[in-house]
């Protein structure tokens, strides 16, 4: 672990290029995905990514509630991203705050860009993301979990959507920021990729990046997404393999 420097700001990068948790600039935190973790949902996935624990469930396509939201020619995607009260250092009041509402919208739009919604007019695909334990990059973990859940639910899509945040720590572009890097770093850029087309359907950024830094960050992010993509696919293969066990815990 990095030692604490002046003013209680942790050392984010050693002279050897090691980050606060010993990673290199282009390394992801450990990522484990379990597809089909829940019993009731049409599709689900549990993601453990670094110290993040995020659960996602998909219901649908199903009737739209309230009815006036339905679209005549396609399904709508409704997304609810929420953080559990105990998921963060300081207990969070239950309920959607403005940050969660914004993230919900951004994620819904990412999936709407990838789902073949015209196949199910006048229905809703409901995506629910619950952050159970947070350590930066929760919206990316949420997109990864929800994407696997959508495939698990049989929703037709262009592709799975791997997602990761790239940032800048101690002046260097770094992949997959953890909490201290997010708090004390100089930039944070979450993104989600459609591997089939190479295009981004989610992109946000906050901080300071020069244009060359941005180019480097985009490249690093896309490369990170491609790695995450493989983990997502493997989770689904494990779930649907001939002899895989049922992760949702069927009662005997």
């Amino acid at each position: 672990m990095g030692s604490v420097g002046a003013k209680d700001v942790p050392v984010l990068l050693t002279p050897d290029g090691l980050r606060i948790d010993g990673r290199r600039l282009n390394e992801l935190r450990p990522l484990k995905i379990t597809a089909g973790a829940l019993h009731e949902a049409d599709g689900s996935a549990f993601v453990e990514w670094g110290a993040n624990k995020v659960m996602a469930a998909v219901y649908g396509p199903r009737e739209v509630h309230p009815r006036h939201l339905q679209e005549n020619n396609k399904a709508i995607v409704q997304c609810r991203y929420n953080m559990a009260a105990f998921s963060v250092d300081e207990r969070k009041r239950p309920g959607l705050d403005r940050r969660s509402q914004e993230i919900s919208k951004v994620i819904a739009e990412a999936f709407e860009s990838a789902i073949f919604a015209e196949e199910y007019p006048r229905t809703s695909v409901d995506v629910y993301i619950e952050v159970l334990q947070a350590n930066a990059g929760t919206r990316c973990a949420g997109v990864v979990a929800a994407s696997v859940a959508l495939a698990d639910a049989g929703i037709p899509m262009v592709d799975l959507l791997p997602s990761v945040a790239v940032g800048k720590v101690a002046g260097k572009i770094a992949l997959d920021l953890k909490k201290e890097e997010d708090n004390f770093g100089e930039a944070d850029m979450p993104m989600a990729l459609v591997p089939q087309s190479g295009r981004l359907v989610l992109l946000q950024m906050e901080g300071h990046l020069t244009r060359p830094e941005l180019a480097e960050a985009l490249d690093l992010g896309v490369a990170g997404c491609r790695q995450i993509y493989q983990v997502m696919k493997q989770a689904l293969r494990d779930r649907y393999a001939s002899d895989g066990p049922d992760p949702s815990g069927v009662s005997p």
Binding site: L38, H39, S87, V88, Y128
Partner: protein
Amino acid sequence: MSDEVTAEILTTHILDLAKSGKRLDGRGLDDYREVTVEHGFVTSADGSALATIGTTKVLCGVKLELGKPFPDTPNAGVLTTNAELIPLSSPMFEPGPPHPRAIEVSRVVDRAIRAAETIDLTKLCVTPGEKTWVCYVDMHVLDHSGNLIDAACLAALGALTHAILPNKAFEVGPEDVPLAVNHFPVECTFVRLGDAIVVDPLVDEEKAAQGRLTVATDEIGNIVAMQKGLIGAFSPSDVKEIVERAFQHGDRNRAIARGV
């Protein structure tokens, strides 16, 4: 998606089965599904537990923070419980304001924890009238296959019995110590299906039920809380029979929740 319509023939079938002592999933009238409690599921909480009953799953996180005591109890800590029936857990729950069931689950679990004097709230007081520990018990339903009250209470008990008071982080003391838990309440829920009274109901059994009774017991033989729900009735001798069964199931589940 609001509460879905259950086929009436299924309801009739559930009641018919109960007459011959059988249930939808092959259990007997007094068979409880498999219970597991995994402690320390989330490290962002000061204490946490994931409780499962069959495929029902509830995650509870306990967080302890400093706050002001209530004016009328200056020497006591504050305990607040909340259950979230999130739409992720069931096609029956919509996003939005709390479902009435969520409020009932919160209050029923709260009542059991408080009545059993699970935590001595006076021990949570740091400076009378000024500073006290606030203990937040937040239960998050993740998967609803029936019997949320029992699962939520098991998760809460599991989280409380493994909670650590963060003295250092809040500069209250030199060391973090385990939260002192003195009593161990466990809830046990029954529903009436015709003349039969079955334990640990499934979702479809809850929908077919003609009355529901939850009994909370502690480890020294006290009944600490009861709640009757749904539309239906129980005779006093029903209640006594249910209480006996609640102790048997409660004692077994109590050990699992405590991890002993």
